[in-house]
């Protein structure tokens, strides 16, 4: 019974192996142009690597790796001020998602179960819908209260 899932497993294994291979082979993915200044090196390894890989000139400016904020110097911290509206939406989602997980087994046998469970399910669905209505009345859908 589980042999239907074997291609899925092979896809995962091939993809992960391929991505690891790609990321370790491609010099553009594995290492950057930013190097701290080492001065002139006459070691064989350094000479060979600079001959083999056609790279641009190395960058020694520390601003090269800073976060990009449209040319401004990045200041302050991130993640301190998050609008509370996102939180309300996520709560609504959690309430509804649990509801929907419970609906799937009922939907599979819908025709056989008949009319009474259908009405019961509609009542069951009405409860989280009431929560959405409440959030709407409280003004959380307007984003800025």
């Amino acid at each position: 019974m589980l042999d239907g899932y074997i291609p899925l497993l092979i896809v995962l294994v091939l993809l992960i192996a391929g991505m690891i291979g790609l990321f370790s082979v491609l010099p553009s993915l594995s290492e950057g142009r930013y190097k701290k200044s080492k001065g002139v090196s006459l070691k064989v390894d350094d000479i060979v690597s600079s001959m083999v890989r056609e790279k641009g000139p190395e960058v020694k400016d520390g601003a090269y790796l800073e976060t990009y904020e449209s040319g401004e110097v990045a200041r302050g911290e991130i993640g301190k001020f998050v609008t509370v509206q996102y939180f309300v939406i996520i709560l609504l989602f959690v309430v509804f998602d649990i509801d929907i997980v419970l609906l799937f087994p009922w939907a599979m046998d819908f025709k056989a179960l008949g009319i009474l469970p259908f009405i019961e399910t509609l009542v069951f669905l009405a409860m989280p819908l009431f929560i959405v209505l409440y959030a709407f009345k409280e003004g959380y859908m307007r984003w800025m209260k």
């Binding site: 899932y5 091939l14 790796l65 904020e69 939907a107 046998d109």
Partner: protein, 346 residues
Amino acid sequence: MNILLRLALFFAGAGHYGSYFLAYIFETIFFMIFVAVVLIFTIYLFRKYMARLQLRYGPNRVGKFGSLQLIADALKLMGKESILPSGRDDFAFRVAPLIVFIGLFVGFAIIPYGSFYWIGSLTITHSNVSLLLIFGALAIMPIGEIVAGASSKNKYAVLGALRGVAKDISFEIPMMLSVIALVMMASARTANGLNLEDLTSVQFIPYGIPEVIGLFVFFIAMIARAAYSPFDLGESDSELVSGYSTEYSGMRFGMFYMGLFGSIFLGSMLVSVLYLGGYNGPFSSYAGFIYLLIKTLILVLVAFLVWLSIPRIRIDRFVNMGWKYLLPIAVINLIISGVLTLGLGI
């Protein structure tokens, strides 16, 4: 007969276990080549179609009709440096594009592709709960975007990731409700409505006809899921620089880009499987795969038309649209399909 048995017959010289081992490996490799071709073709189609709508020529220099332009772009992206910003969360930053990519491939692996010529069924994953599995795979991709936004330690990226979360969860509920309506309808004909293969094979009349509202809700939710222009809040490039992918460059950015186009194609394919009858059609035991591709292409063109003609909406209107309009419509659709199934026995 399906592609696995055909390949096992082809490799029959390798013994019982050896032939099946090789068959599984080659089946998967063919599938991955198909997905790669689909990704390249979708991006090429989008660029040509956008150019035609904007009275331009589009790519027409590399190869015949510019058909090799995307290969050249991929090579260019591979050659470009992928800058790793200094403030990053290293492992999460590196793994985020892979999450998007892996979710995409897993999603493609679950679709029932139908039959093609003498090969037989091209479906590679046979599961009894493939409907749930594919929505699980679709739910992996936004995680990659959120991880990307949170790990790059950039204000724009964090905002983009937050908006991406709001986008995904606002449209998840109407989408799942319309799918439940579909499973309810299928329960009259098949015992296992959670199997995409069964769900497709009972659609003598495509479910898009009795469930027009469900098709409407699901298609809008898929557009929102794929996150392009009316709903591209996660990477709104005129406010946030480029949203969650701001700090990404080179091939890592290319993976997000391919994930976007792949999810458009995957979403259209899912809509055509669930609502337009998938591989059903005249002589579907020979040309089912072709029917699926034709239906998907039409939906992809509709999706591109939506992308290119509607400007981005504001975040509050967007959340409103999910919770205030689509959710009640989806519940009404559930009631209608329940009444149709119990009353008329469709």
